[in-house]
Amino acid sequence: MDLVPAGSVCYRNKSRYRHMEQKPRKDVSEDRAVPEPPAAPPPEDPAPAMGPEDEALVAERLRELGYIE
């Protein structure tokens, strides 16, 4: 199984792990523009929110399940 992403450099060594990259590589995101959110949010995007009542309900449900003592 090749665990190393395409385009990476493998490092020769005596270990059993043949596919390991040990040389600095440029990250894929470096060449990519990072978009900002649109200035005017699309109306179809409903933007969920949590009020204190919602938070209390979540906490209560998780307490019932034993997550919280």
Binding site: M20, P24, D27, E30, D45, A49, V58, L62
Partner: protein, 442 residues
Amino acid sequence: MQEKPNIILITADSLRANHLGCYQYPLPTSPHIDKLACEGVLCENMFAPGIPTQPSHTTIFTGQHPVTHGVVAHGGKARLTRGSPWLPEILFEEGYTTCAVDTLFRERIWFGRGYEYILDPSLRHMFYASVTQEELNDRAIHWIKTVPKGPFFMFIHYWDVHYPYVPPERLRGLFYDGTNPTDPDNHELDEWWHHPIGAMARDTWLRTSNGLIRDPKYVTALYDREIRYLDEGIAALKDTLEQQGMAENTIIWLLADHGESMTDHRICYDHYGLYDCTVRVPTIVHWPAGKLRAGSRLAPFRQLSDVAPTLLEATGTLIPEEMEGQSFLQQLQGQEEPSGYDRVIGLESTWQAKYYLRNSQYKFIIARQPDLLGNPDRELYDLAADPGEDHNIAAEQPQLAASMEAELEGWLADKLQALGKTKDPVKEEGAVAESIWRGHGK
């Protein structure tokens, strides 16, 4: 410069590795984390030997496998024993000023061990995991600027990526290319509403003025926006260190306790199931003064139990014999050839009672009791041919499945014997949350 490094250990709860740019995610969720990875070292194959949050964090701080420390479930009977090694406690005894910006001690008391300072802005919320990176950073940054007079250890536990996914409104519009998140004719999440976590989401954070969110692609976009928001927080923290002249000799270790299933394997927006989306976790180590092999990526298998021993070696502290993990500091520094484990064995005992054994090609999963989704009690995946773990080949390759099962059971038997234990902790605890839920008559 002080001799011992500062340490900022960051866990981003539920952060799935392959939703980060530096782990080949195609969307730009994480530009600052990606930069951190380019300046530090990234581990390609770090695995959680126990999920979810409580077992995994207990492993991170003890350097022990969950079978050893015994904390295998949320809501389980096991409690961490006082004599267990505990990273913050050891560092405190070594002269570190220790600080947790965290809420975990509110779930289980041992998570407060060894901290001189605990900062908990979640007291301002009805649900502690609603605390945001900005609220945590406000306290953390003020503390970094004003308190330490020598080396410090800070643990920051961000909850943004954990459900409920409620990113800031200013990120609206990012990462979603669908047309109607609340389409009443979309029934893709209907099965999830019958799970208590799905029902909770339906009754709270997925309700909007436009109606109930029903498009899983939109829920995934919310998750990705949370990563983007977290990414801003990581950048703010790093900027602070640079402004304070602390960046050079501070280890920033970013990891996750577990990943997250989107809708993979019919597990929706949660972190159970022993598939790679949940047990393979991101790990980035950044330490300019530590002579790390900047920009490199380590491919060998590591486990979260290796984190504490590695940090102790970085501080010149003796690693307690009770810690089972192995330091890989010299590999991070490029002084040793990369190496790791031939296999990882892990478990869960919260929503399912299962073990996994993963090697470089295959994963075998065995259930101690029937699971809530009706999966077979033995699963085998060829990760080379099927990295998504979609095709169970246990029936097609019975000899391989039997061999991996024998290997797993042999390891467990040996482990229990060495620990002087007689009971399989996963069998003993069972699927704790599921059991509680069923007990409520669901």
